[in-house]
Symmetry: C2
Subunit: 155 residues, 2 copies
Amino acid sequence: MSPNAHDRLTIGELAARSGLATSALRYYEELGLIHSERTAGGQRRYKRATLRRVAFIRAAQQVGLTLDEARAALAELPAERTPNATEWAQVARAWQRRIDAQIADLERLRTRLTGCIGCGCLSLTRCRLYNPADTAAQSGPGARYLLEGAPPEQS
Amino acid sequence: MSPNAHDRLTIGELAARSGLATSALRYYEELGLIHSERTAGGQRRYKRATLRRVAFIRAAQQVGLTLDEARAALAELPAERTPNATEWAQVARAWQRRIDAQIADLERLRTRLTGCIGCGCLSLTRCRLYNPADTAAQSGPGARYLLEGAPPEQS
DNA sequence: GCTTGACTTCAAGCGAGCTTGAAGTTGCAC
DNA sequence: GTGCAACTTCAAGCTCGCTTGAAGTCAAGC
């Protein structure tokens, strides 16, 4: 087989291999997350490296990044070649901190919940679920809405 | 002071004490999450218990429930009185399972990330971040987009 | 050369969870 | 009894991450 025949991916191929819809890929391209070349007829052709970029974007979303943040993260990695250990480690460690923060938030919530099971109170003045001493950090999706601004002491 | 003067809350008071915008409270009411009585002039007046309901909704969101799910959870608790230990324990334990699942997901992701730090590969054929053996559960916001449908082996 | 499926663009829509704005009314303090 | 902030409804708008549809073009197998 010709080595060039499979050198570039059509959007359908990229979709099949990345598990995303073609519409999503066009959307990513519109946002500048991925790039393509065009055939004479105007169809998109993607480099193999785009497959890696797309996988990276999916991973970033799992970590809780928006597509905008994913683009910023991608900008710190080389566009065409595989990132080296140092480059990747930097990104991975930042992601780990994020994940750790998300886990910490969830654990704090679980602790509060556990404390409440026994009492059955849901008392506004006493329940720790309603009156967390700490203002949980706004890290990651799923932790957007927090119990900051808890109701004040009430007679 | 008259004991009835502060018996009901205006929407502004409820907003101030719950930390939500009045627009959000009207929206919740439209969705049937909270309820109000009206003055002769048509203004909303909330029972004190609504404060508890709103706090519950916020807590539910933190656990990753949609407003629709929060409404379902509220339906299992008494509308007007403080829930008793048994009633609350049922809800709290369900939430704990949810939180545990979310934490487990995040920890799996972190483990994969850790394995990748050393190699710096981001190789599509080898990297565990791109080729997770498991299909992470779709539990909670922030875990919506997963690496299912990872790219197949490539020469 | 023709058919057919994969592609193209552009505009609109969706769903969740609200916010904003306009235009009008109410309630309370002085 | 008046002034003004706080309330009312209704419609539209917004963000995020896409999907859907219409109308048309390209690429490749027979």
